[in-house]
């Protein structure tokens, strides 16, 4: 969501802007306003008095952290349109003393990494300040994985005094006045208070139940923050803050460095010396000291003909260098005239391979300007034999008067066990560890419950109901690499005022005829033998033996099964594994 007329920043009309977004790989979802959003969600009355400043809802590719705020987005599009040159981001050492953050070894077990930087003499306005806060929130949700990997804290440096210490303490030993509270609380108390906070409650699990909580102090013992939960109120930044101290703590060092680079590259624009970022020193528990932000520029050399070959275009190396420069990748032709040297700025952490550079060249060239061609790849097609057999059988099942159902592969334990008179342990079912509802507890071990539920949902249809499904079931199997496997099953049910065993039996005979399996026990034939099954009415169940192995059962369903699936009529069914017939 971006405030204000981005189009007007770029001197573009809405349609032109829409077109530019598409070309650049952004999705302009909606042009709206706060007023419009509230009125849509809560009605016109509530919307009264809300702001009607135009909002752009734009979807940004998940790996482009540099486009998450208005500053970066406008900068990116301005460079793309060749209206400005990409700025050069510089890390500068202060004339006075460098800000220092010392990490103690207690952090190792909970949140071992920290990086820091200073934005000196920044000038916020209301809009800039809001954008600064919003960017941190977006980064937290995105690359920071809801603060689990990285958490950002920004502070009014003028209220603090370095050096800073990043340590971990027992929650009862941490006591401070948190952001927007008027009184001091211990960390234990805060964890309780925030349980009901709609925003913060989602982050508590990251440190909850840990013996030590991460915490950052200044040299006077003032708490800067208790990452990844909350900052202290003391160092709170406001629109008037002139010097911002930024710390990022986390469990992923690479991502912490990227996050810091993104924040400072985006907002150093508003510093007295634009795009200059004041360095900070971080001392690790092993005594080694590093300077941040990294703001590293990396050089890659890619051959122009490789880019031409991967995209399917024929551009001169000079043109390709121009295309890449428009994508914020400053490039020039070097060496034998076919090589392009590309400078990857600290804002483009997404560029990790030449293929990323190839894509940017293609985007700048315009995907829709690329000449389409057909590959000369000559291949002979083959069907997967199991699917080929399935397709053939489906048609003949329909020709036999049965209608095809398509039911879910996931279901409740009850569906495959209790309702069929079985104990779940007897099913060999695979179990899902994180189902949101009971409907997704297990993968089905039989197709029958799905068909019975389909009948239950269609009880108003004229009788008889004749349904079938040919699809996969899943069972545990320790001979497979993942410890489970699918079997392709064929299941059919007949539901009417009479059980119709002879109809289901006749269907089996027809299926065997189609599969060219003769009746009789002789080699290769099939027979049915009286059997028992929890789901079947006693004396009305038979096992199906074909080609020397048991392939399934058929019979009249037990009245308890019929009732548990909320049905009222007699029903007979058949379920076989078709894989022996491949």
């Amino acid at each position: 969501m971006f405030h204000g007329w981005i189009g007007s920043w770029l001197y573009l009309a809405d349609e032109e802007f829409d077109e530019l977004c598409f070309e650049f790989g952004l999705e302009l979802d909606e042009i709206t306003s706060e007023k419009e959003i509230i009125s849509k969600e809560q009605g016109n009355e509530k919307a009264e008095g809300a702001s009607d400043v135009v909002l752009y809802k734009i979807d940004v590719p998940a790996n482009r952290y540099d486009l998450l705020c208005l500053e970066g987005l406008v900068r990116g599009l301005q460079v793309f349109k060749e209206r400005i040159k990409a700025p050069v981001y510089k890390r500068v050492t202060p004339n006075g003393e460098i800000q220092k953050l010392i990490i103690t070894e207690e952090t190792a077990r909970i949140r071992p990494y920290a990086v820091a930087a200073v934005l000196r003499n920044i000038k916020f306005t209301k809009d800039r300040y809001d954008s600064f806060i919003e960017l941190q929130e977006k980064l937290h949700q995105n690359i920071c994985r809801k603060r689990a990997l990285v958490a950002i804290g920004t502070h009014d440096l003028d209220t603090l005094s370095g050096p800073f210490t990043y340590t971990a303490k027992r929650p009862s030993d941490i006591k401070f006045k948190p952001l927007n509270k008027t009184k001091e609380y211990t960390a234990c108390e805060l964890m309780n208070i925030y349980k009901t906070d709609n925003h913060l409650k989602h982050y508590l699990h990251i440190i909850e139940n840990k013996p030590l909580f991460p915490v950052i102090y200044d040299s006077n013992g003032v708490v800067l923050s208790m990452p990844p939960i909350i900052n202290g109120n003391h160092s709170k930044i406001t629109v008037n803050t002139r010097n911002v101290f930024i710390e990022c703590t986390g469990t992923d060092f690479t991502k912490a460095k990227i996050v810091l680079d993104v924040i400072v590259t985006m907002f150093s624009e508003y510093c007295e010396n634009p795009f200059m970022v004041e360095a900070a020193e971080v001392v690790f528990p092993n005594g080694k000291s590093y300077i941040f932000p990294e703001l590293a520029y990396r050089k890659e050399i890619v051959r122009a003909d490789l880019i031409n070959k991967k995209v399917g275009i024929r551009e001169t190396p000079e043109n390709i260098a121009k295309l890449l420069t428009r994508m914020h990748l400053k490039s020039e032709v070097i060496g034998d005239g076919n090589q392009i040297e590309i400078e990857i700025p600290p804002t483009r952490a997404d560029v990790i391979h030449a293929c990323d550079i190839v894509e940017d060249a293609a985007i700048a060239y315009g995907y829709n300007n690329i000449q389409m061609a057909l590959p000369k790849t000559y291949t002979i097609a083959n069907q997967f034999p199991l699917n080929k057999l399935t397709e053939l059988l489906r048609y003949d099942m329909a020709a036999a008067g049965f209608t095809e159902a398509l039911t879910f592969a996931l279901c409740s334990q009850e569906d495959i066990a209790d309702k069929l008179g079985l104990d779940i342990s007897a099913t060999k079912a695979v179990h899902i560890s994180n189902p949101k509802t009971a409907e997704f507890q297990v993968a089905r071990t039989t197709l029958l419950p799905g068909l019975l539920k389909t009948i239950a949902a269609n009880r108003k249809m004229p009788l008889p109901l004749k349904l079938f499904e040919i699809s996969d079931i899943v069972v545990k199997d320790s001979s497979r690499d993942v410890g489970a496997r699918n079997y392709r099953h064929l299941c059919a049910v007949y539901y009417n005022k009479n059980p119709g065993f002879e109809i289901i039996h006749g269907l089996l005979d027809r299926i065997m005829q189609l599969l060219n399996v003769p009746p009789g026990e002789k080699k290769g034939g099939y027979v049915i033998k009286a059997s028992e099954g929890a789901a079947f009415f006693p004396g009305r169940c038979a096992e199906i033996l074909a080609r020397g192995q048991s392939i399934g059962k058929l019979g009249v369903l037990h009245p308890d099964v019929i009732t548990k699936f909320e049905l009222t009529m007699p029903c007979s069914s058949l379920e076989i594994n078709i894989e022996p017939f491949l």
């Binding site: 690329i370 592969a409 545990k476 993942v482």
Partner: protein
Amino acid sequence: MADGPVAEVLLRQLATADGGLDSAELAAKLGVEHQAVVGAVKSLQALGEIIEAELRSTKRWELTAEGEEIAREGSHEARVFRSIPPEGLAQSELMRLPSGKVGFSKAMSNKWIRVDKSAADGPRVFRVVDSVEDEVQRRLQLVQGGQAEKLGEKERSELRKRKLLTEVTLKTYWVSKGSAFSTSISKQETELSPEMISSGSWRDRPFKPYNFLAHGVLPDSGHLHPLLKVRTQFRQIFLEMGFTEMPTDNFIESSFWNFDALFQPQQHPARDQHDTFFLRDPAEALQLPMDYVHRVKRTHSQGGYGSQGYKYNWKLEEARKNLLRTHTTSASARALYRLAQKPFTPAKYFSIDRVFRNETLDATHLAEFHQIEGVVADHGLTLGHLMGVLREFFTKLGITQLRFKPAYNPYTEPSMEVFSYHQGLRKWVEVGNSGIFRPEMLLPMGLPENVSVIAWGLSLERPTMIKYGINNIRELVGHKVNLQMVYDSPLCRLDAEPGPPRTQGTA
């Protein structure tokens, strides 16, 4: 039956009639109920073009029951007059006669009779005139004879007020000769029989015409599920394009094949509990191809093959975690890995099968859906080739207006979303996602460096819902399906179809 006597008479009459005849007139002429003539007209009509009958409605005057009686017996006043002998009649006795009360007052006002109240044994009635003209009876007899028009408006309304006359609307037919007019009609046969064929009698017999406006009787039949009919068409398209079907009959997959092999980092949001179904039992994969696993680990954590890598601590236990596959790209990864284990030959693969997402469910999202995927592996494939293959593929679906938008997928680079112009919505809508697999995915498998693999995917449900005009996915997939919809669904012909809304223009 059309061979009733009335019908025959009607046809004979019609043969000599000049232009046609009126059904009511004919009924009067034959002395039968009008309804009998109407029945004959209708049965003759059913025989085809023998007669033509035009419905006409006419108004006419008819006598009421009382009017009939008066036409027959005379008016009440006349009857009173006639019942009085020359010597007179006691009034009390006269009043007891059937027409007494009404007739007495009318006869009095007509001055036909008088009352002598001074008679010895009570009032006595005497004739005043010798004879009377019964005007009421005469008028009613005129109406009865079909000559109501001879009466004046005033006279008719007076009779109506006395409830002797009533005006009725009569529906009659004007019958004329039809194009197949004939006076001889015989009984029509309903159906051709084996006897008629063997005896040849069908040559001489008329057959009852069929009503072609009626519905036929639907055959007893089984039906294929609409989504799977669309699946069949997609398989067909891939096979027509020379793509080989990949095995996808493994819903359970390890995180390794589902994510790590695709260079999807272990902290990627898709690997979150909120998006993916992980397994409690069996919780971990038992075997992984360890040589390959090490190359994947190195690429993620340190880079290699020209890549910076993601630079994080890659964990084997994370890769072992079993899950319900979130895309069929895991099966594509397995297929490409198998391809890489032999000297390279170009390959074109496809699959259409179920995938699972632990998502929030709504009218268009279920926890499981079908993914369609196409893959081409060959030397020197370009983005232009990917677009060319997509153009051919979508043309076979009847989608010809395509546009490509840059996009981000963790395992393809470059990536492009495919958009088509939707005539109904008047905007471009996304119809698929595509890209070139990242070298960080292909090279650890052992595929040669100059081999590119292009791929694209789309869901099976979305085009099916658009094709069959279904708004709620639950009506299409799962046990809550509406079987009537399954019974009624037409053939699936993706490329040739007028009919309901489509995703694309066929310019």
